[in-house]
Symmetry: C2
Subunit: 332 residues, 2 copies
């Protein structure tokens, strides 16, 4: 059995820089037609020169592969209208990190004062620049996302013309918020569709499944699966594929992030197939995203076949999800 | 400032076997006057010969240090009265593991049928053999202990003459159960007095703080601290110090267990001192245990002084809690 995916998109991707980019850039470009490129480098992408420079380095890493780069800026509340106008053509979205919440987010936002945010968010609304948010508070690790939902709702309500993407949602609370505001959307990762905290820490501890936001409860995973498998029109696939070298994962003080880019479509096909929902995979990995972001990616067809694929133990220095395990679908 | 602890006891200790026993046995014997020795070797301790053999190997490892070994059997529902009578003098308690719940517990108990358990638990009641229980269900990792509390209560109610120890409790639910039944007691570890899941997985992932039961929420830790700091008469210190070689902790599939034996008294002194409760430490590490278990340990005085102690990076191949960090109390 085969399926063809037209222009699959990864709406939340970390490509890093330097050597790591050389390793992981081509892998994403082999599987996907394009991706939203996260800006949390060190230092983060906050001006046109660094954005264009990063885009150029990515293009150099992926060589002649067809792969559309949807570039983002790291949110700063003081971006001017003139600046945003000057960069509008190069920019797909702006990514907001609460301060210190994940890898390289130390320069992020503290507090969500509506009056303070009004100028920038009004400008973004007028220029149709979506706001992507890593929505977590500084609270207890299992509560951080659900505690943030009121912030999502406050922003959605106060800025009804702003497209707000709840990134890598992990809870039923976020799923429930989706339908309350017309301008609230979400990306969902592969790993949060598949695992709970039990997979991370319920048996032996699995550092390669450790990520932020951390995987939650079964009822959360079930809520995510439900909207993904039905390809709810407001959800999109975003891998949040986040490579770290093996020695940063298997150590005291292990970094957060699951590396899924090269195995994501295969594992999604397996999940959608198992649930008899393969017909909805195209919408989850492409159609919804094109409509929400109003984008037209590079033409590319990825053919998946139901035949075993043994996931490599490593890609370069990075251990992927399902390392050494067999998935039932392959890219052909 | 100095304090003297008379006969401090560790009422829940894993000494392992072989090389690891050679490393960790002397460390416990240097700090403590005695300990309850857990029986979950491979194979577990289930007969007199293996109990006496293990006791002899421990005594050989600790050399001429004064250290009382309170030996335990691995619970099996079919131990006969004759067998228990024959081993009574060598035995301090029997440890019950639900099947598969932690390190080397594959042969543990499935189901808690009162009628099935009546013969053995009646005999244990009559022979005054306490039952130590690792109380977790096979549920979601954050719920396993609180889901087990009804089992504790069922056993306490049906066997009112049986001394039941809720081992290494981690939740407010278990603390709340303490006062409901006269025959229900608890051990509390150092690490569960100090950490929550945020310390394990809220920032970078910390494999050396990963244990079973997993550290829980702030309200749980606060409830544990409250009864420990007041030296509630039904709680005792039990380190659950559980050494694993560094390469079994910093790897994919990291083993559960925190190694605290050689730093536990220093860290407890720091905690009790900070909370102005040093006067209660003697009861928490000795008096309560002697009364609950009706034991008189080897005479030994451990003197602690408020002066900095830098915890070693490793003891043998084992990374302890607080590795490389400074505690404010030392053993002199």
């Amino acid at each position: 059995m085969q399926i063809k995916l037209n222009n699959p998109l990864d709406m939340h991707l970390h490509l890093r820089d330097g050597e790591m980019l050389e390793t992981v850039g081509p892998l994403s470009a082999d599987s996907f037609s394009g991706a939203i490129i996260m800006p949390n480098l060190l230092p983060p992408i906050t001006d046109k020169a660094s954005l264009l420079g990063y885009k150029q380095r990515i293009n150099s890493a992926i060589g002649d592969r067809d792969f559309t780069l949807y570039m983002t800026l790291f949110f700063k509340p003081d971006y001017s209208r003139d600046f945003l106008l000057s960069i509008r053509d190069e920019l797909t979205a702006i990514k907001l990190y609460p301060a210190g919440i994940t890898t390289n987010s130390e320069g992020g936002l503290s507090g969500f004062d509506i009056d303070e945010l009004r100028p920038i968010l009004t400008t973004m609304s007028e220029l149709n620049i979506p706001l992507c948010i890593h929505g977590e508070t500084n609270g207890f690790v299992m509560d951080r996302e659900s505690e943030f939902v009121p912030v999502y709702e406050k922003l959605a309500k106060n800025f009804p013309d702003l497209t707000i993407i709840m990134e890598h949602i992990t809870t039923k609370a976020s799923v429930d918020a989706l339908d309350k505001y017309d301008n609230l959307y979400a990306t969902i990762t592969l790993h949060h569709l598949l695992i709970t905290l039990d997979d991370v820490a319920g048996g032996m501890l699995q550092p390669h499944l450790f990520c932020k936001p951390i995987a939650k409860r079964y009822e959360d995973r079930d809520a995510l699966q439900k909207v993904a498998l039905e390809a709810h029109p407001k959800v999109m696939f975003g891998s949040d594929s986040a490579p770290h070298p093996q020695d940063s994962k298997e150590c005291p003080g292990c970094a957060a992030g699951v590396f899924t880019a090269p195995i994501a479509l295969q594992a999604l096909a397996e999940l959608f197939d198992k649930n008899d929902k393969l017909n909805n995979l195209q919408a989850f990995v492409n159609t919804n995203a094109c409509r929400i972001y109003n984008i037209i990616p590079t033409e590319k067809t990825i053919t998946l076949e139901k035949k075993p694929f043994v996931v490599p133990d490593k890609y370069g220095t990075v251990v992927p999800m399902f390392a050494g395990q067999e998935l039932s679908w392959s890219i052909v």
